[in-house]
Amino acid sequence: MLFRFPAPSAAREDEVTPRALVLSRRSVMAGGMAAVAAGGIAGWLQTAPAAAFKVPTTIQPPDPKMDAPTPLKSATTYNNFYEFGTGKSDPADYAGTLKTRPWQIVVDGEVAKPATFGIEDLLAFPQEERIYRLRCVEGWSMVIPWVGFSLNEILKRVEPTGSAKFVAFQTLNDPAQMPGLKSWVLQWPYVEGLRLDEAMHPLTLMAVGMYGEVLPNQNGAPVRLVVPWKYGFKSIKSVVRITLVRDQPPTSWNRSQPSEYGFYSNVNPEVDHPRWSQATERRVGEFSRRKTLPFNGYAGEVASLYAGMDLRKFY
């Protein structure tokens, strides 16, 4: 493959919560349901045995003081998902209308084998739990235990041709399900893009769950992208189409305000948003601010992708 990484599944040792702790959190939430004993997402992931919920063995014991997972309630009530409104609680309030079954992702463009993946197909991929930091361009951050699989699992199956250089993503665009589409805050549908090497990177995740449960609608159900070293808006939600393309595709926020949101949008404390500093962030649930890390702390894994690039220019 293109890259080799010592710890492909990401999660730096200092940010992983022991599975037991995550599970005990869920057991509290689920009222101690048998799901805990059954081992995680197997309950909802009917097509796979419990063993399919494979926790990567590379992760180390966590430093809960540094990067404890954000409380589930915060992660599910403080969201940016403008298809359901621009308020932080709008997605939690209004995303109930989103129908996540049936669901398909069409994968086409510069590929040898274009394909359509049903949500069942995606759930049948081997799932991993990955605890990632999420840094919003607005200056707040969370730590979220996602459940999903590397995007490259999909891309490998469709066999990108030599002319595929970028990957374009598109969110569902159905006004009947998404009241926020009436607003002209952005041009719909929401679109995002990655360079092919970014998309193939093992850290780049397609998430179908979080906190060991199925992905809540407001967090981008049934399947979303998670690119942990980029600002949150790159991690497009409720994906319906993935197209491999030759040229850099348009992205929603870049189209809306190009001077503020670049195509790359890598987390970078050195490059301020024109309207606010990106040097610090507030971890949701914490009182004081903490320093923002280059590439959101994933520089070891991804900085080489941008070797030789002026990151002030390609922000």
Partner: protein, 233 residues
């Protein structure tokens, strides 16, 4: 001269607004947003980002009180309820009060009194510069809001200074429009209301005659032209 139903309504409104209870009631009502936000903060109801939410809420209420204060004169002209003018100063002072809360929560809770960083933000970020400008204007107006200051400055100069509230209103709305991602609806609604309230002052005469004539017959005429500061109470 026969008292029409409309005049009767106006007299009742004036009477109610002139009652000794009116001001304490409005004062208490104006503190409800603060009490509510404090209660939510205490009970965990401010959501995942309580600090940001309290900064946001205090800012929103500053803007709301500013718009309500700016609405007093147009409303008085439209309805002929002259006693409305009694509340203008208090409403304006509450706008200042919430703006001061807004600024101090930002300085204390969001920036942790990191003065160099705060100064850098104020100079570097246009939306903060604009917001600070609005706050400085409101501070000057609040400081000169007492009867004694009106006397000291003289009516004409006082009125000229207090026209600054129009600038503060526009700057406050601009601050809000500039700080959100994209062109979101709520800040634009505030801005439109503010512009509307200011524009009304340019063309009041054409809308006003009936109401103005009517108000001339009411006892509230004791309080002329709301543009001079209240000297009673």
């Amino acid at each position: 001269m026969a008292v029409s139903a409309r005049d009767g309504w106006r007299q009742a409104a004036n009477g109610a607004l002139l009652s000794p209870w009116a001001k304490p009631l409005v004062f208490a009502a104006a503190l409800v947003p603060l009490a509510w936000t404090v209660w939510l903060g205490w009970s965990g109801g401010l959501g995942a980002e309580p600090v940001l939410e309290s900064v946001r809420q205090s800012g929103l209420w500053a803007l709301r009180f500013l718009l309500v204060a700016l609405a007093v004169t147009p409303l008085r002209m439209l309805t002929g309820v002259a006693a409305l003018a009694r509340f203008r100063r208090m409403l304006g002072l509450f706008a200042f009060f919430y703006a001061a809360l807004h600024l101090s929560t930002w300085i204390g809770l969001d920036q942790f009194f990191d003065w160099p960083a705060i100064w850098k933000e104020i100079v570097k970020r246009p939306y903060i510069t604009v917001g600070m400008g609005a706050f400085l204007i409101l501070t000057a107006l609040a400081a000169t809001s007492t009867d004694a200051m009106v006397k000291r400055l003289g009516g004409r100069r006082w009125r000229a200074l207090h026209k600054g509230v129009f600038v503060a209103g526009l700057a406050g709305c601009l601050h809000y429009v500039m700080l959100v991602k994209g062109w979101q609806t709520p800040p634009l609604v505030y801005a439109a209301l503010c512009v509307g309230l200011l524009a009304f002052r340019r063309w009041p005469v054409r809308i006003r005659p009936a109401a103005a004539r009517a108000s001339a017959d009411t006892p509230a005429r004791r309080f002329p032209d709301g543009s001079s500061p209240a000297r009673r109470s």
